[in-house]
Symmetry: C2
Subunit: 359 residues, 2 copies
Amino acid sequence: MNFERNNIRQMAGYASGEQPDDELTIKLNTNENPYPPSPQVNEVLNQFNPASLRRYPPATALTFRRLAAELHGLDPENVIATRGGDELLRLVITTFVDPGEKIGMTDPTYSLYPVLAQIQDCPIVEVPLLDDWTLPGEFARSMNDAKVKLTFLVNPHAPTGALLPIDLVSKLASKLDSILLLDEAYIDFVDHDYQTSHLVKQHDNLVILRTLSKGYSLAGLRFGYGLANHSLIEPMLSKTRDSYNLDLISQLIAEAAISDQGYASGNWVKVITERARLKDQFHALGLLCNNSQANFLLVTIPDSVNCSAADLYKNLKERHILVRYFNTERLDDKLRISIGTRAENDQLLSTLGELLNPS
Amino acid sequence: MNFERNNIRQMAGYASGEQPDDELTIKLNTNENPYPPSPQVNEVLNQFNPASLRRYPPATALTFRRLAAELHGLDPENVIATRGGDELLRLVITTFVDPGEKIGMTDPTYSLYPVLAQIQDCPIVEVPLLDDWTLPGEFARSMNDAKVKLTFLVNPHAPTGALLPIDLVSKLASKLDSILLLDEAYIDFVDHDYQTSHLVKQHDNLVILRTLSKGYSLAGLRFGYGLANHSLIEPMLSKTRDSYNLDLISQLIAEAAISDQGYASGNWVKVITERARLKDQFHALGLLCNNSQANFLLVTIPDSVNCSAADLYKNLKERHILVRYFNTERLDDKLRISIGTRAENDQLLSTLGELLNPS
């Protein structure tokens, strides 16, 4: 007997990027940070007393929330700590969107959003991005006209790396009748001063998502957080969140990592520098890419190159370099390539050179 | 503006037990294991390479699932690993129960169940336990008549510690028209051989919940798992679970802990021995308690004792001993007391002696 709900039976799950467990592969397919986390993380592990695991962890990660609040010029009541950004996305839906109500997003966008909408049995309203990957001017009106209850925007955008101007974020929050979830998973890799957290004081419908996965090299830890007006944080914190959603070790590691801004930002600069170099080199190889403010580049394989994006993905994989290929309209002539270490990027460039310009 | 869904606005969150962070308090209120986790957990932490955190963790915890499957004589496809038992409870609802459909449980039961039902906007069907805390004979029929889609049973029962006979579990699974979630959070403390995992081969509607929080002294880790027919596991594993729900360190620690059955079962024996001693000593003090197969005792404060349960709770707390008091019908003359170490239990007994028989 199949006990699944109808909406669950009809959906497919989220397809995450390949995770090979060999050491040989250069892994540029899931936007992981190429550098290890802060040495302070090692300290936490060295000093950790395993006996403390027998007790329940701090239920709401208050110490971490205090640190995050301080970092962003907010109060702890404006912060919720979550098991990766993914838990925050789910909580926003569970708390604020009834089944049958609509969830808005751009096309393309982070492919987890539609999956989470389907789990809650919510129809999706998709607005295509313009040819240059910017938002159409009528975006907020389209969402309001469709009576959307929650809008997801990833900024910098995935998979293009395009960044919204801050005043546009503020205008969108003002114009939207409902909640705006601004997914800042990649925000740490913006190459100029760019701060949005003050906007949650101005807009009671804005939730900003942050994660330690990319900027703090902690994808394996599953730790993120949300910033918002207390009226949005409170029901997620006290009602819909799994009680004890964050284990003790994760909390301690996250506290150490977010406190070591100097180390993290040093890595951001390295990624930004390599991103600029890679972009130039891709152009030199006859490939195209837009400006990206994320830790990846969306690379177009033009017709002039005697190899499709799909084939290039396969050829790179055969040579132990993994990148991301999306077999969907508007993206099927492109590859999304995460920024690796300088050595990894050199290997990528020389392999691309061999594949695209065989002697 | 209040953006909460109606059902969320109307509900209260789960109230977890107090978690004082002082070292002085003897904490017998949240059923934590009084002994530290396996020394193998220390080994995992000592050998852990923090650099590995920069990558995403194994998405479905396959190594842990293989170990759990082996332990229970099942296949990995019969196992889902979850962030504590709580995540499994949520996933069973999300995957199999539409909003508006009914969720069944006993009264009393684990107080998280009604909270999770409210989040999914599901009405609750409660069947009162008999005076001796056993299930009424018509329990399954009551659930079927009410068209319940999911029934929660905690076994051993919380907060009474009563254990269902295995053949009754099997009969209930056969009789119920829908899914039976058997919550075995406390199963490791049963004082005789008691195995139910083979039942998932016979009943395609049975989900067994296990957790490492109690039996393996890892409440701080947030790690549990579910055992069921593949048709029930698969949609939770591939569709409704948060992608990467378990961080890397937790997976490694859980693998080590579940592999060290000798260490864990040694602690179970200690708890069982202390439980028997405490029960006798409570009787000697004029208090009453049933047989419990869990790591706690539900202690009735009879009228003959010149102190109410509520007052006794307060008086113990003033003396730095925390126990659990439920201010609800049928439980308000009782205290639920977790089994501590021998030294903690001695302190509890001597303090109770002073409070109940002041000289």
